[in-house]
């Protein structure tokens, strides 16, 4: 008996399992710990080990037959087994082994052979067993149930190899085994130690709990099991084995077992080699026999083969499910979060289980202090009736972090039956109500597990708002009945919700959840750190015998954004070998064909270095792709979408290379879109002023502007220009005004400042290395800027002003020269006062003819005046008429010197905020007036008001000159004051 199992290994294992159990139980079952410690404290020696192995087998067999939690029965059976075992142990070791096995097999396969387990009979059967079972299994057509038993039998009997058993029998067994090629539906056979001790003297409860916990814990165990090297251990494993296997699930505890699948040939070779030493029959003879049997079995084995295949597929479950945490301690999410939820669930104990809530301090000794304080406010308050104040827990967090798992496990752990409602269920308010009522008011009476329900609303952010409202009303049912008694449904809601409700969502700030947020405990689930996730993945990989690099796992974890689900999925389907190359598979966005296409387009010229022949063909596929995409975009023919993918095949065939190439991300498209957006911006800015077509602008005008805008001007002050230069200057200014261009001073690294065109149309017109273009000297640009500013002011004043001197105004439509402009400006003076007022309101109204010509319609002058009068406010209208009266009555007239009409304000170092107006020589004045400094020095003037202020200064200069009074030398602090002064001055004049 003891020979049969490699006891050394097994015992080690047991100890480990035991230890893990011990810890888990201490953690979970604090109060029961005392009781359990006793039976567990003495690990069984080798003798007891063997005994309970048998016991265990028996036990498992019984469990399969009877209800799993029927502990009484189990105990009885174990007792029974014990006795049985004792009786078995009487004969010599070798025979007892056989007898036991036979017994076991008989017992388990009692479907076919309805011989009840009887210790007395076993010895009788033993002698027949070999041949009997051999014949039986060889001859019978293996149905699925029979097959199972065969497998069990085989796995057990493979242990007999060491013993004195006729070779042909063993060989037959091996052959059978190889022929069956697998799967067993149930895996009771495993001699995997379950119970450390016989505990028929234990309280039922304890045993049951231990059973529960241990079953849950088996998977969590991190220490790798030693793989024993005898045949049986090679065939069945708890962990994922390296050999071919089929995974099966033990029905009563959903333990995963892995059973070896062997090829026929391989198997023979493998199995004969150990036998060669032992068997007296020569190898060749064995082989002939084997072939005979194989031939006989061939047709028989066909059917089971197909059967096996189907079960194979069924059992091939996703790792995500396989490694889903099954107990509280396996959870990967943050411990404080887990505790928080669990604690909240425990608060319901008083209501649900009618027992006192365990004091938090005792219950949660590990709680972080900070959390404790928060939680006291949030969770731990329980109202007078024992309900938690916040009756809903809202779990929120990005997908794949295990929110649903957490909710389920926590609920189950706290002793609830989980009722889940998720997005796949109908969630209209009516069905919602039904579910709510059904799950909270009722309780399963039938069935083995009469636990109270706990509602879990998964993916609640997608639920209709009405349903959420209903949920809210429902949980606060008590409040509602207090206010509005005997309303419909109020009887249902009289007590409010009596069961915990957990809601799960991705986005806690979704608008539909606003109301829910207020009344619920929000438990945000943070992302797992990539390292921790990678550790878990590594663990998983070890279990699955995947050879992966830890760094790769970290990478996967990072790339998936710590989405646990995505990571495991990626791991499963990428396998270990090419994990490194396939890292991109773990990326979440693999379906963006557009990006992929861009990437290929971007990278292919680098890749096909010399060969040009394939390029046109592959480019035709790009064209095809574009056509399909355009069709979809314009006509919404989505059925064409699949055809976009065919290009990739062609591109692969045309462009792929064996060498590894460096591939870069297609950033060009982004740059191109940015650039073209910028250029369209420039074009629209220009168009807004000149009102031309984009086509004309880009193809014709932009191409010539760089030349037209750069006349040959000397870098001398503008008053020294020859008449030709002056006309050039005037022309360039006109052009710039027409297209709304201006020079903007910008800082340059080398030279300090440079001037750039504002809507920089040159960027569109100028290409690299084409025509040589002149550029203007900095000083010339400065002059142009100044003149431009002056000209702009003048035009603004013309537009808003009222032409007194109609002859000059009429001329404005004709080709301007500098002199002409000056004439106009001299006439504008009368209107400046008025235009100052209107400048802000009327500046936008620009009348132009088709040729960009500014229209001042002198015929309708009076009419226009009236119009303006209507537009300006009554107050300013009054002032305007007053001014007009004064100016016309008294015939104030001012003739300007050549140059500019603008006076300049200069800050005096003496009095604070004191400004004086000086009559500068015209050129200087214009320069100062239009320079940036001027604007900057006047903090009161926003840039928008620049025109207006300049006009004010014109008026002031005029008045100052005419009146020769010293009114304006006094301090002028603000525009308002300035205006007052002007008015005062005007009043002073008027009596005269």
């Amino acid at each position: 008996m003891t020979d049969e199992y490699p006891d050394l290994d097994m015992n080690e294992e047991f100890d480990l399992i035991h230890k893990a159990d011990y810890e888990a139980l201490r953690e979970l079952e604090g109060e029961l710990f005392e009781k359990r410690q006793l039976p567990q404290s003495d690990p069984s020696p080798s003798n007891s080990g063997t005994s309970w192995i048998v016991n265990n087998n028996k036990h498992q067999a019984n469990v399969e037959i009877s209800a799993p939690d029927n502990v009484d029965k189990v105990n009885n059976m174990t007792n029974n087994n014990k006795n049985h075992l004792l009786s078995q142990s009487d004969p010599g070791p070798s025979t007892s082994g056989i007898s036991w096995t036979a017994n076991d097999n008989k017992h388990q396969s009692n479907v076919e052979i309805p011989v009840p387990v009887n210790a007395d009979k076993i010895n009788n059967i033993t002698s027949n067993n070999k041949t009997h079972s051999y014949e039986k299994y060889c001859d019978s057509i293996p149905s699925s149930s029979k097959k199972r038993n065969c497998e069990e039998f085989l796995s057990d009997s493979s242990n007999l190899l060491d013993m004195d058993i006729p070779d042909d029998f063993i060989f037959g067994i091996i052959i059978i085994k190889s022929l069956f090629l697998i799967d067993t539906y149930d895996a009771n056979i495993i001699e995997e130690p379950k119970e450390k001790k016989l505990r028929w003297d234990q309280p039922k409860k304890v045993i049951k709990k231990i059973l529960d916990v241990r079953q849950l814990l088996h998977e969590n165990e991190n220490t790798p099991m030693k793989i024993s090297y005898n045949n049986k251990k090679n065939s069945i494993s708890l962990r994922v084995p390296s050999w071919n296997f089929v995974a099966v699930t033990r029905s009563y505890d959903s333990q995963r077992l892995y059973i070896r699948v062997r090829n026929q040939q391989n198997n023979i070779k493998q199995s004969t080699s150990p036998i060669a030493n032992l068997s007296s029959v020569p190898y060749k003879q064995l082989k002939i026999q084997a072939k005979e049997i194989m031939a006989r079995k061939q047709d028989l084995s066909r059917q089971p083969l197909s059967l096996c295949d189907t079960t194979n597929i069924i059992n091939d479950e996703l790792w995500v499910d396989k490694y889903r945490p099954r107990s509280y301690i396996e959870l990967l999410s943050d411990e404080t979060v887990n505790r928080q939820l669990l604690h909240w669930l425990k608060l319901w104990d008083k209501v649900v289980f009618k027992k006192n809530v365990i004091k938090p301090k005792k219950k949660l000794p590990n709680f972080g202090k900070k959390n404790n304080i928060d939680d006291k406010k949030d969770i731990e308050e329980v109202d007078s009736k024992g309900y938690p104040i916040k009756r809903i827990a809202l779990l929120s967090g990005p997908p794949g972090l295990g929110k649903t798992t957490l909710a389920h496990i926590a609920a189950r752990h706290a002793g609830y039956n989980v009722v889940e409602v998720n997005a796949s269920d109908e969630r209209t308010p009516d069905t919602f109500r039904q579910i709510l009522l059904a799950s909270t008011e009722m309780k399963a009476v039938m069935g083995a597990d009469p636990r109270p329900n706990c509602l879990i609303f998964d993916e609640i952010d997608g639920a209709p708002a009405a349903s959420i409202e209903l949920l809210l009303k429902f949980t606060q049912g008590k409040l509602i009945t207090k206010k509005k008694k005997k309303k419909e449904q109020s009887e249902n809601m009289s007590d409010g919700c009596t069961r915990p409700v957990i809601c799960i969502c991705n986005e806690p700030y979704a608008p539909s959840l606003r109301a829910l947020r207020a009344v619920s405990v929000i438990i945000p689930i943070q992302e797992v750190s990539p390292l921790r996730l990678a550790e878990r993945l590594m663990d998983l990989a070890r279990k699955e015998k995947l050879n992966v690099d830890f760094n790769d796992l970290v990478k996967i974890a990072e790339r998936s954004g710590c989405d646990v689900r995505a990571c495991i999925g990626a791991l499963q389907y990428m396998g270990s070998s090419n994990l490194k190359d396939n890292l991109s598979l773990g990326l979440k966005d693999t379906r963006e064909t557009d990006k992929l296409t861009q990437g290929i387009f971007h990278n292919y010229p680098e890749i096909c270095d010399r060969k040009l022949n394939n390029v046109p063909m592959s480019l035709e596929w790009f064209q095809f792709y574009d056509l399909v995409i355009s069709l979809i975009a314009h006509k919404q023919i989505w059925s064409l979408m699949p055809y976009t993918n065919y290009g990739f095949i062609a591109w692969h065939l045309y462009l792929a290379r064996t060498q590894k190439m460096k591939i870069s991300y297609p950033t060009v498209t982004n740059e191109v879109t940015q650039k073209s957006a910028k250029n369209t911006g420039i074009l629209t800015a220009v168009r807004r002023v000149c009102g031309r077509d984009v086509f004309t602008l880009t193809t014709d005008i932009a191409g010539f502007l760089p030349d037209i805008l750069t006349p040959k001007l000397r870098t001398v002050p503008s008053h020294l220009y020859s008449s030709k230069e002056k006309s050039d200057l005037a022309r360039i200014i006109n052009v710039m005004l027409e297209f709304g261009l201006s020079f903007v001073q910008e800082k340059n690294f080398q030279r300090g400042y440079i001037y750039n065109l504002d809507p920089n149309i040159l960027e569109i017109g100028v290409f690299l290395n084409c025509n040589a273009h002149r550029s203007l000297a900095y000083a010339v640009q400065q002059i142009i800027t100044q003149e431009l500013e002056v000209e702009r002011l003048k035009r603004a004043s013309i537009l808003t002003g009222l032409g007194v001197n109609s002859e000059n105004m009429a001329k404005s439509g004709n080709p301007e020269t500098v002199e002409n402009v000056q004439n106009i400006s001299s006439n504008v003076e009368n209107n400046t006062k008025q235009s100052r007022k209107n400048a802000t309101s009327l500046k936008e109204i620009v009348y132009k003819d088709f040729f960009g010509n500014i229209i001042t319609n002198e015929n309708k002058n009076g009419q226009k005046q009236n119009k303006i009068m209507n537009r300006i406010s009554p107050k300013s209208q009054e002032k305007y008429s007053l001014m007009k009266n004064i100016l016309t009555k008294h015939g104030i007239w001012y003739k300007y010197k050549e140059g500019c009409n603008n006076a300049v304000r200069r800050n005096l170092p003496t009095g604070q905020g004191r400004t004086t107006w000086f009559d500068y020589p015209a050129r200087q004045a214009s320069e100062r007036c239009s320079s940036q400094d001027y604007v900057a020095s006047a903090p009161l003037q926003s840039r928008d008001l620049r025109n207006a202020v300049a006009l004010v200064s014109t008026v002031e200069a005029m008045l100052w000159r005419v009146l020769k009074q010293e009114v304006y030398s006094s301090s002028v602090n603000s525009r308002g004051q300035l205006r007052n002064r002007i008015e005062a001055a005007v009043h002073q004049i008027s009596p005269d």
Partner: protein
Amino acid sequence: MSLWVDKYRPTTLAKLDYHLEQAENLKNMVNKRDFPHLLVHGPPGAGKKTRILCVLKELYGVAAERLKIENMQFETPSKKKIEILTISSNYHTEINPSDAGIYDRIVVMELIKATAQTHHIDIGQREFKVVLLSNVDQLTRDAQHALRRTMEKYISTCRLILCANSTSRVLPAIQSRCVRIRVPAPTAPEIKNILHSICKREGLTVPDELANRIVEASNRNLRRAILMLEACKVEQYPFTVDQKVTEPDWQVYIRNTASMMVSEQSPKVLLEIRNRFYDLLTRSIPCELIFRGLLQECIKNCDDQLKKEIIEVASEYQHKMVRGSKFIFHLEAFAARFMTIYKKYIELSLDNFT
């Protein structure tokens, strides 16, 4: 105003320099009480817009010259707001619906409705307003279909003047509802006359040879010819006979690109060429022009057999380009195809030679 193109633009039908008979016809048309929808088409720089503006001035007098530029807002059914630049007087509205991209249908419909439904009381002698749609050939099919119904529905208060480069992409249904006026490009002597007259009015003299060269370089595009003249003047005055006539940069750029394609054929060059295409496209040079420029330059070095082949390929690719939306694919495809064909041709001729 200040550019010669604008300064010497005729403002009335009587002042037009060429196609005088057509001008006469237009004048007659305007003088009648009624006025049909117009479809004015012709190559760029032929004077379509000038004629349209002249017509408008004939219709409404000087008031039609008082323009304001403003943004109009339209809302698509998907609540997306589109802004479109309009140039309008009291009597007409000019708009380029292709600015709105695929939403041009909404723009066309809304604009015509808005214009047609407001009725000026003091409109003077005319009872209708005019909507001037430019680049009609770039309208989507939807927009053109929408146009054809609205054209009839609001005919009492609103007339359309459509302006297009070619009628090939204008629906026949629309063409039949309009009076089609083709404005051919001016002939070389006509352009030369105009250049001379402009110089005269500016007080300049231009040598005949220079004028000839400008005409040649302008490709019978009057606007471009005048701009060239002005650029020449800025460049150097008094004019000399062998003075450089500047072409727009993009043309030079395309020509350089084409010569790159001819000189070397390899994926590396293709990559450079792609970047040049991107340069052109981002500066919103129309891709048809790029294509045509390339082709014209490429086939200069080919014999007749090859020419035929390349032109065939080019036409096929351009057709695809027009139907597609990512122009760079098609441009590059043509470049690559040309390279392979040309390379084969060169290798073949070298083999024959040796």
